[in-house]
Amino acid sequence: MNRRRSPAASAKTKQRTELLRQMVRIRRFEERCVELYSAAQIRGFMHLYIGEEAVAVGLLQTLSPDDAVVSTYREHGHALARGVPMVSVMAEMFGRTTGCSRGRGGSMHLFDASRRFYGGNAIVGGGLPIALGLALADAMLSRPQVTACLFGDGAVAEGEFHECLNLAALWRLPVLFCCENNLYAMGTALARAQAETDLALRASSYGMPSWAVDGMDVEAVAAAGNRAVETMRASPGPCFLELRTYRFRAHSMYDAERYRDKTEVEHWKQFDPIDKLTARMYDDGELADEAVKKLESEVDSELDDAVSEAQAGPLEPVEDLTRFVYTERP
């Protein structure tokens, strides 16, 4: 029998399906990147986000297109969740002129000015001051935007972190500080690097609303993100979210992972954010096998298209090597 669902319930289902789709897109994108990397088709430092998808997807759905996003070198997921087209991210991995940074950035430096994605900063902590400035400009120009600044737990040990939280709180700047606490900075566990491991607590000492959130639960992240952004839009000033998450893969493609046990990783895989949402949706009767299959095949074909288009994209001519060092003026 076909149960009739209320409009509210079906809106919720739609939203959940979208969250699921975005997480699956990121996961599959990166799994494909691993294959391409192993086949030596893409190179450089590559940092995977697998396991952490709920953070990007949950957070970025709260933002409007006019808000700004500042990101790190582990930013494939951030870029995709922000709406940077998959093909332009993939083309950047291939170093093509059609890549979102015209082949000059690679995996660690994805940018999309049109989407206010001030992406890929490979200096740990280096994005925080930029976020401050974006928010300062918005505040000075009386624009209602917020700036979301993503960074890892490693950045919390840096001077810049403290400089920026202090300044954002002092000047009441609309920066949403989003700390992706995946428990490791390369091979250094949080507790081996930080005297106080409760990061939200530390941020709250600067007098800003701070929350610790289950970063493996996309709906919990979305709820926290919505609450933080509402708080910021209602009264200017920064907020801090500690997203407690875990990366299932090594720090980068070069990492032999000597610093943690396989059992630890296996333990965390029980909290896989994609599995978690999928199970919840099955339980609530919002998902059926066909729907999952359909979603996956849609993502696969998007990915296939992105790869073939990216691969076929032209390389930036070597004569253009020294372009974009200074602004080109007519």
Binding site: A68, V70, G99, C100, S101, R102, G103, R104, G105, H109, F111, D112, A113, Y118, G120, N121, I123, G126, L128, P129, I130, A131, L132, G133, L134, A135, L136, A137, D138, M140, L141, T147, G159, E160, E163, C164, N166, L167, L170, R323, F324, V325, Y326, T327, E328, R329
Partner: protein, 326 residues
């Protein structure tokens, strides 16, 4: 046209005032630029005139507020960030090099950073090693930055405007010993370009190539040389990156002798770069090896006699020019 009596400090202040008045997007940000009036009193009075939003005192957070300048520039403002001295800019070097200088390129041309960073440089006031170094040559090493160094009143008055109009990050180095330099300045101020070097004195016997704080020293030396019948061409580089190679090379082709005067250290310095360019482009025009007058290779000492001994002096320039001319 009238002229007013002014100082280098007041000329920069006037340039700041004009910029703030003419463009709502311009604001000044740095340590003690507001209530204190600027640690070299450059921004004295601007807080009263423009208010704390636009004359923005910052905490001692060089990295954060320089980076905030970059972010604000990305989002449509025209920030002028003041760093007290180049020595402290090292705490913001990451932001300047890894972000301001590289974002445009890394983003494939999407993210230009129209930012001006002003800072003091140089020695001569017995402030010892952590307040006296001349590191602008280091910054001139970095593609993506434009480095300017006003040495005269018209340049102090006129360089800020083209710096703000430049779509890329500009670092402006003000030598601490120049702030009190006084003289007459034309009103309205003449436009200054930041693309070409200026010839401050013409002569056919030797090219004296310098910039910033050592320009007065070099001009004094040129007078002494003239008394001995050696006529010097004095080139004020004004812009350290990109270098105006043409003016340098044309002068050396004419004089066949060159001396580079630079308050930076000799090893791996801007003076080394200029010397190399001369050998690349005018080697067969040289009648003698290029001479250099630089700061002694020591951290700057405090004691006056040691500091004087470490710094390029007019006598050193005269001696170097005489060696060159032979």
């Amino acid at each position: 046209m009238t002229t007013t009596h002014t100082t280098y400090r007041e000329a920069i202040r006037e340039a700041l005032r004009e910029a703030l008045r003419d463009d709502e997007r311009v604001f000044l940000m740095g340590e003690d630029v507001g209530r204190y009036g600027g640690c070299f009193a450059v921004s004295l009075g601007l807080l009263e005139e423009f208010g704390p939003e636009r004359i923005r005192d910052t905490p001692l957070s060089e990295s954060a507020f320089v980076g905030a300048g970059i972010g604000a520039a990305l989002a449509g403002m025209r920030p002028i960030v003041e760093i007290m001295t180049v020595n402290f800019s090292l705490l913001a070097l990451d932001q300047i090099l890894n972000n301001a200088a590289t974002l445009l390129h890394m983003s494939g041309g999407q993210l230009g950073v129209p930012l001006v960073i002003r800072m003091t440089t140089g020695a001569g006031r017995q402030l010892a090693a952590q307040h006296s170094h001349s590191l602008e040559g280091w910054y001139a090493h970095i593609p993506g930055l434009r480095i300017i160094a006003p040495a005269t009143l018209p340049d102090a008055r006129g360089m800020l405007r083209p710096a703000l109009e430049c779509p890329d990050p500009v670092l402006m180095f003000e030598h601490g010993s120049l702030y009190n330099a006084a003289g007459e300045l034309d009103e309205p101020a003449e436009p200054v370009d930041i693309d070409t070097a200026a010839i401050r004195r013409s002569g056919d016997d030797v090219s004296l190539i310098t910039y910033g704080g050592t320009l007065p020293t070099t001009l004094t030396a040129a007078e002494q040389l003239a008394a001995n019948n050696i006529q010097a061409d004095v080139i004020d580089l004004r812009t350290l990156r990109p270098l105006d190679e043409t003016t340098i090379v044309d002068s050396v082709r004419r004089t066949n002798h060159a001396v580079v005067i630079d308050e930076g250290w000799r090893s791996g310095s801007l003076s080394a770069e200029i010397t190399a360019r001369i050998t690349e482009h005018a080697f067969y025009d040289l009648d003698a090896p290029v001479q250099r007058v630089c700061t002694a290779e020591v951290p700057m000492p405090y004691a006056k006699h040691l500091e004087d001994a470490a710094l390029p002096q007019a006598d050193d320039v005269v001696a170097a020019a005489q060696r060159a001319v032979g």
